[in-house]
Every structure is written in C-alpha cells, then in structure tokens.
Amino acid sequence: MRHTSLVSVYISLIIALLCQLFPWVGQSVIFRPDFMLVVTLYWLLRAPHLCNVGTACFVGLLVDLATGSLLGQHALSFCFTAYVALSYQRRLVLFNKGQLLAYVLILLLIERVLILLLKLFTGNENPGLVYLLPIISGLLLWQLMIFIFGGLTRPKTSTS
C-alpha cells in the first residue's frame, strides 16, 4: 500500500487537471479548490523522490496555461510552497492528524498569498477575503486524497 508508483502520481495529476478544466457554474467557481496544488502537495509529502520542486514548478506552468494567467505566476508560487512543504517533510511522522491538517492549511495559505501578491503587482484589483475560500475547500480535498490514497502520519499496517 505504501509503495507509490509514478503512474498513480501522473494519473491523479491528469484527473486534477480535468477537474480544473471543468466549467464551474456561476458562483461555485469561487469555492473551487486548487486541485492541482493539493494533489501535488500530497505526492510531494508522500514521495519526494517521485515528485519534487521541479514537478511542482511544471504543474504550476500547466495551471498558468490552463487558466490563461501570466505564465510563471503559479509556477513560482507552487515552487516556493513545495519548498516549504519539503523542509518539514521528514518531521511528518511526528505529527498527528490535526497538526498535519494545520500544516497543509499553512501551505495553502502561503500559496494563496503569494499568488495574490503577484497579481497585485501585475495590476489586478484586490479581490477581498473571498479569495481565501479555496483554502477551505482545498482542505476538504486533502482529506479526500488521504481517504483515497492513504494517510501520511500513522500508517495502520507497519511492516517490521
């Protein structure tokens, strides 16, 4: 169960891209989680030898191309978030579920704030607090990822 293959990483990323491309109707687009980011963070924390800062950067570029925003915006913020995520990756075994969730919350917050800063630099208007809503839906998606692919903190089946 613990063994992760590259195929599952890429398939989940492609599914995340599909979700990102899905035409969200009306106001629901504001609540839409950052699918690509959450999936990338999951694999980053679980298998850093398969999915590292470079993958995060590439995924960010894909998001840029798909959303039509300035190329490199998401790449930069994903890179930095990935770096922060990796710097505590080895301490994850000591975290319990709540702490891990808080950690992911902080990571998502970092990414949102970075994107917001980059957007303000390029001249967008300030979107207000609504801008932070995807963090909450992102946390829900994170729980879903853990439900599907298994947790990161205390694996039930420990091989000795």
Binding site: R2, T4, L17, L18, C19, Q20, L21, F22, P23, W24, V25, G26, V29, I30, R32, R46, A47, P48, H49, N52, V53, G54, A56, C57, G60, L61, L65, A66, T67, G68, S69, L70, L71, G72, Q73, A75, L76, C79, F80, A82, Y83, L86, S87, Q89, R90, L92, V93, L118, K119, G123, N124, E125, P127, Y131, L152, R154, P155, S158, T159, S160
Partner: protein, 335 residues
C-alpha cells in the same frame, strides 16, 4: 516500531554519499529563477504566445471531455422542456420578429436615404460591421479575472481586437485567440477602456474598467452634466466598437471635495452571466486597410497607413460634431 514508520515515508534527503540530486533549497532557487524569467518573458516580450496557442490546442480534447457532462445536462434539459413553454417562447419570438421587421423596414429606407445623401455630399459610406455568432464555453477559470472564453477561434477567422456584444450591449474585446477558442476580456477589466458618449447630451468620454462589475469614467470635472441613470453608448471614434451600442448606465456619482474630478461609476448593461450567445463584430475599417496594404508595395505602406488612419478618424468625428463641414473636408482630401 519507529523504524517501521520511517520505512513508510520515503526519504527525501539521503546522506551525502548516496547523492541523489540537488537539495530542496537549491532546486527551489533554480525553479523560482526559471519561473521569474518566464514571467518576465511572458509579460514584456511576445515569444510565448505560440507556446500558449499550441498548448491550448493540445488541451482541447481534455477540455471537450471536461465540458461533456455540462453539455449533456443542457441537452437533456432542452429535450425534456415542457411543450407549453416552447409554444409560449415561440409566440413571443414571433411577436418580437414581427416588431423587428417593422422597425427594419423603416431602418432600410433611412439607411438608403442616408447613403444617398452621403453619396451626394461625396462622403464615405460607413460599412456595416459583420458579426459572427459565438457561444460562451465557460467563464474564465480564474474567478478573479474578467475573462470569458468563446467557442470561436483562429479556425473561424477570429482575430484579436474584435468587439464582442450580446443582445443587450457591449461585452468586451477579443484579447487572445487560440485555434478553437478565444478569450474575451470584459469591459469591466482594469486593462480595457472604451470610448463612450452620453446618450442624452452626446458628451464624449472614455470609460475604464473598474473591476467588480463596474466602469469608471475618470478625468471629468465635478460640474459635468452627467446624472444617475444616464445611458452610455459607444461613440465609434476608435474604429473598434461601432457607434451607438449600449455600454452601461450610470449608477453612482461621488463628489470628493478634495479632488477636482467627479467619481462616476456605472454598471454594464450586457448580461454576461445570463446569456450564452454573443456576437463577435468584425472590424470593417481595419479589414479594408489590410487588404489595401497587401496590394501595396512596402515603400508606400507607411504613407497608406497614415492616410487610412486619417480617413478612418475623419468621418467619425466630423459626423458626430458638425456635419455641415463634411463635404469640404472630404472633397479636398484626395487633391
């Protein structure tokens, strides 16, 4: 026990003699530098538009797959829509068509008369802009930008810069064209401005996008003759938007005693969220100029462009302000 837990999480940094690659920090620095470079190239130079186009074209099948559930839902909903609703709609549409027909009859005679008069005065006959029907395939993927994606692209002869309208008024302008789709920036975007005219007193101004579904009209003095409820229409000076299309209605006028300018806020009349269909209007003048340019030799190109520009601007401005001086201007121009 602990050992087992450690085995489960695959290690990221191995000891130095099992060197696997660069450290996370150096990777981060490298990729951040890379993305900053890409950002600079994308924002200042135009090299990456080709990459973008190719990528979007490659992404098209995925997009179709993602759009499929929505399309199926809409189709089945249409199929099962009640019979009497259709009859009612048909009745209303017939009535509307009849009314439009009556209005068109008058319009045709007036247009013929106008052309005849302009011909008498040796003036230019303004071309009717041709339109192409498009459908909104989705609102922009980033909810905090003012972009709508339309299902017409390069393949349908769409060009960047076309004006986009719906049945109520102006929506915006095509800013990026991909092979099968194109991006329309709404007039409420901060980067877009549109030359307008107050319908009531023909006062010309330029409206800028204000974000949050508003338009700003800056640089007008506090005593300007604009009231709440005034309708703004396009003035047609820029040669992009044909004259006389509805743009917005003034909703709020603020007067700040510290500022010499009034703060005039208006709301667009086009209903982007309610309709799917919209019309992409051709640029008649630009198209003509292009055709002329291709037939000219390169040396005369610049002069021709200047001439074209002059000709484009003159009739618009003159007809708007003082039509009496028109024949002289146009008669003298060719000599």
């Amino acid at each position: 026990m602990l050992k087992g837990v450690h085995q489960n999480l695959e290690t990221q940094q191995t000891p130095a003699f099992f060197v696997r690659g660069a450290s996370a920090f150096s990777r981060m620095v490298f990729f951040c530098a890379l993305s900053i470079t890409i950002m600079a190239i994308d924002s200042r130079l135009n090299y990456l538009s080709q990459v973008r186009q190719a990528f979007i074209a490659a992404l098209h099948p995925l997009e179709v797959v993602a759009n499929a559930p929505g399309a199926w839902y809409r189709d089945t909903k249409k199929y099962f829509s009640a019979h009497n609703k259709l009859v009612q709609e048909n009745y209303i549409l017939k009535q509307q068509a009849f009314e439009h027909q009556v209005a068109l009859q008058r319009f045709n005679t007036i247009q013929a008369e106008n052309e005849h008069l302009r011909g008498l005065l040796n003036g230019n006959i303004p071309n009717q802009p041709k339109g192409m029907l498009g459908e909104i395939s989705h609102m922009g993927r980033d909810p905090f930008t003012h972009i709508v994606v339309v299902n017409r692209g390069n393949q349908h002869n769409i060009k960047a810069g076309l004006a986009v309208v719906d049945s109520k008024g102006v929506i915006g302008q095509v800013t990026r064209v991909y092979p099968f789709t194109s991006e329309v920036t709404l007039i409420t975007d901060k980067e877009l401005s549109i030359p307008i005219q107050i319908e009531r007193n023909q006062l010309r101004a330029i409206a800028f996008g204000g974000g949050n579904n508003t338009l700003d009209i800056p640089y007008l003095p506090t005593n300007v003759d604009i009231k709440v409820g005034d309708k703004l229409v396009t003035s047609g000076i820029d040669g992009v938007y044909p004259a006389g299309l509805a743009v917005a209605t003034v909703t709020k006028i603020e007067q700040n005693p510290e500022s010499p300018f009034a703060k005039i806020i208006s709301t667009p009349v086009a209903e982007v969220t309610n309709h799917l269909q919209l019309l992409l209007l051709d640029l008649p003048d630009a198209r003509e100029a292009e055709i002329k340019l291709t037939s000219e030799t390169p040396e005369t190109k610049d002069r021709e462009v200047k001439k074209e520009k002059l000709n484009l601007n003159k009739p618009n401005i003159k007809t708007n302000t003082k039509p009496n001086t028109m024949p002289k201007v146009n008669a003298n121009a060719p000599h």
